[in-house]
């Protein structure tokens, strides 16, 4: 990709959230990624948004109390 193909900060920031969420079509994802390689400021912002998303993702709990799990098992048994 040549420098003239760069999407620029405005377009990259507009798509940054969807980039972090992996919701962009491949071609747009690649364009934003290319811009992030050459723009320190946008890259820092992407790292911040990714880290915030990671912190939120860490709140997800796979664990459920044995009592709650048994309640659901017993419930389904009765179906």
């Amino acid at each position: 990709m040549s420098e003239t193909d760069d999407v620029g900060c405005e377009q990259a920031l507009k798509r940054l959230v969807e980039f972090v969420d992996h919701e962009l079509p491949d071609s747009e994802h690649d364009s934003v990624e290319q811009h992030l390689r050459i723009c320190r400021n946008c890259c820092s912002r992407m790292e911040f948004e990714s880290r915030l998303k990671e912190r939120l993702s860490a709140l997800s709990t796979e664990d459920v109390s044995p009592t709650a799990r048994d309640r659901i098992r017993n419930l389904i048994k009765k179906f």
């Binding site: 969807e18 911040f48 912190r55 939120l56 993702s57 709140l59 309640r71 659901i72 389904i76």
Partner: protein, 199 residues
């Protein structure tokens, strides 16, 4: 083909943690969350014939959970339906970004105040900020950022277009960052950050 009882149980138990997590954040109460999950699973079993695609089980159950929450709350509050409809018209407070508040482009490469800010936030700060979000934003942020559903799955779970998911997510994250900023100010984090970066 309708899902078998064994397959239904296996799939439910595989997502029981996220189901409880979302239910807890909707009800803000452990006992109510357990009741909501149990009622949703009962309704899901009764409606199993409506599960068109076995691969979409997670979004389908979240949709039933969300609908069950709305209908149960409606009964409890005994409010007319109109009051429970989402009104986002007054929610525009303008964009807010913690990054823009803290980032200093001319700092040395190893100084990173915005990342340090995130590192200093406690799990409780994030829980509190999520709980403070208006419900129609909280559920989208929780499904996307805490439970990792795709935009398509969230649209299916909430029965709204993907465009609505995008706009609620943008506004919800905006509101979340605004709240986190306030939480941080209350904890004195911003001031320590400023002191640490100006020296």
């Amino acid at each position: 083909m309708t899902i078998s009882k064994e397959a239904f149980e296996t799939q439910v138990l595989a997502i029981l943690g996220p189901l409880h997590g979302v239910a807890r954040r909707l009800t803000n109460n452990e006992a109510d969350a357990e009741d909501l999950v149990a009622e949703s699973i009962t309704r899901a079993w009764q409606a199993r014939a409506s599960l068109a695609d076995a691969g979409a089980f997670r979004a389908w159950v979240f949709r039933i959970l969300n609908n069950t929450f709305i209908s149960e709350r409606r009964k409890t509050l005994a409010r007319p339906r109109e009051e429970l409809l989402v009104d986002e018209s007054g929610d525009e407070e303008g964009a807010f970004s913690i990054f823009e508040r803290l980032h200093q482009p001319f700092l040395l490469w190893f100084a990173n105040p915005e990342q340090e800010f995130l590192d200093k936030l406690l799990r409780e700060d994030l829980d509190r900020a999520l709980a403070a979000l208006p419900e129609h934003y909280r559920v989208v942020v929780v499904l996307a950022d805490v439970e990792g559903l795709t935009y398509g799955e969230i649209a299916e779970a909430l029965d709204v277009p993907v465009g609505t998911v995008r706009s609620r997510l943008a506004r919800g994250r905006n509101a979340l960052q605004r709240t986190l900023w306030t939480v941080a100010r209350d904890h004195g984090l911003q001031m320590s950050r400023a002191a640490g970066t100006r020296g």
